[in-house]
Symmetry: C2
DNA sequence: TTCGTTGCAAAGCTTTTGCACGAAT
DNA sequence: ATTCGTGCAAAAGCTTTGCAACGAA
């Protein structure tokens, strides 16, 4: 069921830069809340902190299990993820069952996902050409895009091999 | 809430061709069922018939409301849509709320969807280049695609205009 | 006759909501 | 002191499942 792996923003970053990255994320949240007359609570801070430290397409349930020890309720996780999405710190995708998953997007280029239906692994792929085609289509049709979802479900290399090994289809 | 509009397979087709189209769909279903040792029931036929006659991204609920008069239960609609999807007569997409929607795919080229979050309208778009990019990526990564989902959510031309008319954002 | 299929209602999941208490400003 | 946020549990969607009756082969 896909453990949450610790992951660093881009590739490997020095501690100093990491700290500033977190600070920036924190500031973005604080500003967003202030601008909307909302409050910076310990729950919102803890959840953001957790996401920044271990970021890998976590489902709400996984995220909740990880932070409930810190006293966060399930409903708060749902509610807070929405707030974080509003300030573009995270964005959601949905897994094969349609359940929500989130990933941190601050400073990360846009990408789409290949989702393995056998092991649940999620691979990120960058498709600049695809984005260009999409944008052109939308302009042409007068369609104003707000968000999109582009996921390919199938068998990853490992699971494909494992399958061929036992029975040839 | 998107009425189901009558729609003809491609553009406009003569009755004779339409009849053969339906017959072919029926045959595909019958063969699929026979091959799997399953049975051709009146419910499965009625549902297929309905979908062929009025095909437009119907949600399960809409489809159910349309055929319940004919004595089909909601569970049967869910179950039958899965069977029809297995023989490639229909395929599903999900709307902004994540609920299932189905469309007939027999003889229809692959396409993706622009979904209006204001009025629910679904526009189909063909993106051959996007498909090519996807295929290449999958081959390169050894990822064996099974199905995919590519939907852009936003405001359609009409809803965008309607919005600008009242308040400028 | 056999066994897949159906409708119904109950159960399952994920997500949302109502409410009283707690906390940020 | 306000007013928003939180946790809990209940409620709400959507989909699946158990089961006795039914019907296709």
């Amino acid at each position: 069921m896909m453990a949450l792996r610790p992951e660093v923003p881009h590739s490997s970053v020095r501690t100093s830069r990491l700290a500033s990255y977190r600070k920036r994320a924190h500031d973005i949240l604080a500003e967003h809340l202030a601008a909307k007359g909302l409050r910076l609570t310990s729950q919102r801070e803890k959840l953001l902190e957790f996401l920044l430290s271990r970021n890998s397409h976590g489902s709400i349930e996984e995220i909740y299990q990880a932070v409930r020890g810190a006293g966060l309720g399930r409903a708060t996780v749902f509610r807070t993820m929405k707030v974080l999405e509003e300030c573009d710190l995270v964005s959601h995708l949905s897994d094969a069952n349609g359940a929500l998953r989130y990933e941190v997007t601050l400073d990360r280029p846009h990408h789409d996902h290949l989702v393995c239906i056998a092991c649940g692994r999620i691979v990120e792929v960058r498709w600049p050409e695809v984005e260009k085609v999409q944008r052109k289509s939308c302009v042409k049709l007068g369609f104003e895009p707000v968000w999109h979802r582009h996921e390919i479900f199938g068998r990853c290399a490992d699971c494909g091999k494992r399958r061929t090994a036992s029975s040839a289809t």
